[in-house]
Symmetry: C2
Subunit: 123 residues, 2 copies
Amino acid sequence: MQVNESIEDYLEQILIQQEKNGCARSVDIATSLCVTKASVSHATKLLRENAYIHMDDDKCITLTPTGREIAERMYQRHRVLAQFLMRLGVAEDTAFADACRMEHDISAETFSAICRHAEKDWD
Amino acid sequence: MQVNESIEDYLEQILIQQEKNGCARSVDIATSLCVTKASVSHATKLLRENAYIHMDDDKCITLTPTGREIAERMYQRHRVLAQFLMRLGVAEDTAFADACRMEHDISAETFSAICRHAEKDWD
DNA sequence: CGCAGTAGTTAGAACTGTCTAACTCTGCAA
DNA sequence: TTGCAGAGTTAGACAGTTCTAACTACTGCG
């Protein structure tokens, strides 16, 4: 299995819920990502098989160190990109939505450059 | 057919070749996008069926007005985004490669904001 | 106890985008 | 004329992502 956009989104969402509630539930992931429970079940099966997540007996999902590494990279990108776009004058909702897609596409070099500028005031 | 990332890439590449040579050829599109001729053939079939491109008897591909509109939007985004990233300090090659993916992801609002800042000097 | 609601899984299908392999067609050169 | 090279197409396969529909399992209430 290769880690692609969809997989990164699942991992990031699991991180967010894990931080908030201690662990993530399939049904909440489905709601947040606007997909069906079946899609989540399919994705979590893959993620389990590849040791990105762990699911205990009561279906509580937590990230393994490997999964967490990817999830935190995505989550950090998401926040920094959104902040950066807002600094450029983009409305918060749009900034978060666009950041959610951009986070998968940019190279480490571009992300570094954006980090260097995300704190600045330009206007 | 919905216009997605892959379709946008084909249209943009056709525009670039059309500007350069008067029309585009499947084999050159394949080389530029690093896909097989079969993939191009499949894509151009869809693009023809949906009136985004026209292919004359000697296989010369040109954009219809509808196709051109999308292609020009993508090409403009590509150039502006790449310029913007270079202003942030990203190397040219990386800037163009990242811009090529980002161009599909950003909203009109974010693109406007980037346009407003692409010309500025920050450093 | 029985039933309803909630959570999760599985099977099967569809769609997209790509690939390889095999084919046609055309033009050119020995 | 023959045959090769280049360009394009078609068929069939595969992987990824999603869906619907039907299922199981658990919980809690009347």
